[in-house]
């Protein structure tokens, strides 16, 4: 278990004008499971490679247990990595794959054997030890790749999109497996993924990256419910957050409110938090997650910030546990989550509840969350 500090990491590739990493600052506590998430090209894999020492940084410091390792070779950082392609040595058996790092470190044979026994039992691959990687299924290869990382007992584990080559069902299984493993071993893990569900389910903390910068670093709850900007808000969650342009108004009671116009052109008033009174007359971007627009619920009485409104349901997409409906607000398509047993058809009007207490508000120019 080790602590990892990334201090102002910058990286510019030769012959490139753009910085790939623009000053990354993250502190990872011992035993913490940190997930780096972001669209492809955001620099998350580069950041991972610099932590491993596979790529140099242009400036900054990487500290493991308060020791600066930025200048050290990968082998001297005591880090293990699980790769997207597993990168199992094709000419070696599973046993030899796991023993390779230990052998290079001149670990006594008896210790290697004991370690392989421990890890293979932990991952339930002890019956595969004498097979070659080509004789294993994708899921088995994945386990061996993790076993190889575990066998060395490094200070830090790096996972580079380890589950993305598995089919959907196996991915869910292995996700649980990884989580169990982390809970049992309490190791420090940095995990790269572009799958936001993986990020939400596994992480202690998530760092959402875009264009070489950390957009937000926080617990899955914070990231989901209090996104700092529209990018984070839109990236996490599926279907993603709805963004509706609104103008803040003041009603007769001197409360903040706004008008929502449906596809029929009729405007309906929506109460807004009073914190927004300073924005009266200004344009904002209202961020509403699909689950915050739902059908009328009997036990859910109308309060100040939960307003009823009637909209035309344009498209219905039942997924089984829920039904996603599309409506139009202020000329923008908006998804809402409805109960699956609701008997409606597309084209009907429906009374919906909008929970503004959970909504986020963004400045349309800077795209920042104005309430944080």
């Amino acid at each position: 278990m080790a602590k990892l500090d990334l201090i102002d990491i910058r990286k510019t590739y030769p012959k490139s004008d753009l910085e790939t990493l623009k000053g990354i600052n993250i502190s990872i506590e011992p035993g913490e499971f940190l997930i780096l998430v972001g669209p492809s090209g955001c620099g998350k894999s580069t950041l991972m490679n610099t932590i491993a020492g596979l790529e140099d940084i242009s400036s900054g410091e990487i500290r493991i247990n308060d020791v600066d390792v930025s200048g050290l070779a990968p082998k001297d950082r005591d880090i293990a990595m699980v790769f997207q392609s597993y990168a199992l040595y094709p000419n070696m058996t599973v046993r030899e794959n796991m023993a390779f790092g230990l052998k290079i470190r001149k670990t006594p044979t008896t210790e290697i054997d004991a370690e392989i026994k421990r890890v293979s039992e932990l991952l339930q691959i002890d019956h595969l030890l004498d097979r070659k990687p080509s004789q294993l299924s994708g899921g088995q290869q994945q386990r061996v790749a993790m076993g190889r990382a575990l066998a060395r007992r490094p200070k830090l584990y790096l996972f580079d999109e380890p589950l993305s080559n598995l089919d959907a069902k196996l991915r869910v299984e292995m996700r649980t497996e990884v989580k169990k493993l982390h809970q049992r071993l309490g190791t420090t893990i940095v995990y790269v993924t572009h799958d936001q569900i993986e990020a939400m389910t596994l992480a202690d903390r998530i760092a959402v990256m875009k264009a070489g910068e950390v957009q937000q670093l926080g617990s899955p709850y914070e990231i989901y419910n209090h996104p700092t900007n529209m990018f984070v808000a839109g990236f996490m969650g599926s279907p993603s957050m709805n963004f509706v342009p609104i103008t803040v108004l003041e009603n007769s009671d001197a409360h903040a409110c706004t008008e929502l116009t449906g596809s029929d052109g009729k405007a309906q008033l929506l109460a807004l938090p009073d914190k927004l009174k300073t924005y009266v007359g200004k344009k904002l971007m209202l961020g509403l997650r699909p689950e915050h627009i739902s059908q009328q619920l009997s036990h859910h009485s109308e309060t100040d910030l939960i307003s009823a409104a009637r909209f035309n349901i344009e498209i219905l997409e039942p997924t089984g546990p829920e039904t996603i409906a599309q409506i139009t607000i202020n000329d923008h398509a908006v998804h809402c989550r409805l109960a699956p047993d609701l008997s409606i058809t597309a084209g009907q009007d429906l009374d919906l509840m909008i929970d503004v207490s959970k909504a986020s508000f963004f400045d349309p120019d800077s795209e920042r969350n104005i309430l944080l």
Binding site: I79, A87, P90, N91, G101
Partner: protein, 291 residues
């Protein structure tokens, strides 16, 4: 491999035509080999009285013995056996050294790229296309300076220098398809430059080693240009000796001896072709398409 059923809607006539053309062409390709073989077993009179493709009246191996041991190649009349060994003494070290260097070069160019290594690779590729006539004169001067003119060592050196471009190309193109993550994983496991090569890459390189060795063996064994320019009387490779034997203008032309000698000169590469044809073809296509 392919199903034996005649495919969709092919009429019988068309198929017969295709088979006919293919069989006819096979005969055309085989004919010279057949002519060489039957001629080499004929006596001199048999050649004059028979025809090109007639079987020998009497199968004799005299011309094989003559070609191997007594035929005249220019000034000397000891057959081509000495030159056969010259070729072996030249081919074996040249193939091994150039393959070895090519493997390391390909490893560096594909897995340890550094500033300028890609540029160098392009420069080297151009070397594959260079007609060797462009380097004949300076190389002769250099071999002379090094005291290697007319020696087998000199020939080995020349073949290594101009073969390395190909061997490097082969290994580079093979290793470029080995995932980089394998090397990264090995680095994290603590392996260094040589350990990664010996323990990870070399064990999976068998096919490309075969391709490279066969390519190098065939092209060096079959080389004539370097052989004729840089070899001395006692280091001539077999191709040069064969040409001398055939174009020696003294006495009556002994076509049977010529053919026996030609077959002997061709045997090693033909043997390799029939034993490891798969690798041979792969080398041909890889070496040329990508080059």
């Amino acid at each position: 491999m392919h199903s034996s059923s005649t495919s969709q809607g092919e009429n019988g006539l068309g198929r017969w035509l295709i088979y006919g053309v293919l069989a006819l062409m096979a005969l055309v390709y085989l004919l010279p080999l057949f002519v060489m073989l039957v001629t080499s077993f004929k006596t001199g009179t048999d050649i004059r009285t028979g025809s090109l493709i007639s079987l020998p009246q009497e199968w004799v191996t005299d011309s094989w013995q003559a070609a191997w041991g007594t035929a005249c190649t220019g000034v000397t009349c000891d057959g081509i056996k000495g030159y056969f060994w010259n070729s072996i003494k030249m081919v074996v070290p040249a193939v091994l050294i150039s393959t070895f260097i090519g493997a390391f070069n390909g490893y560096v160019i594909s897995k340890w790229r550094f500033k300028g290594s890609d540029l160098f690779f392009s420069l080297m590729l151009f070397g594959c296309f260079l007609p060797f006539q462009l380097v004949l004169l300076p190389m002769a001067a250099m071999l002379g300076k090094l005291g290697l003119a007319n020696t087998t060592t000199g020939l080995v050196l020349v073949h290594v220098i101009y073969g390395v471009a190909f061997t490097t190309l082969f290994f580079r193109n093979y290793y470029i398809n080995v995932p980089d993550e394998l090397v990264k994983a090995a680095k994290l496991d603590g392996a260094g430059f040589f350990t990664i090569f010996w323990a990870i890459l070399l064990p999976i390189s068998k096919p490309i080693i075969m391709v490279t060795i066969i390519w190098q063996f065939t092209s060096i064994w079959n080389d004539f240009l370097f052989g004729v320019v840089y070899s001395g009387a006692d280091s001539q490779p077999i191709t040069v000796a064969l040409n001398n034997l055939v174009n020696t203008s003294t006495g009556v032309k002994a076509y049977n001896v010529d053919m026996a000698a030609a077959i002997i000169a061709a045997l090693p590469t033909l043997f390799v072709y029939f034993v490891a044809g798969k690798y041979f073809v792969r080398g041909l296509t890889a070496g040329s398409v990508k080059g």
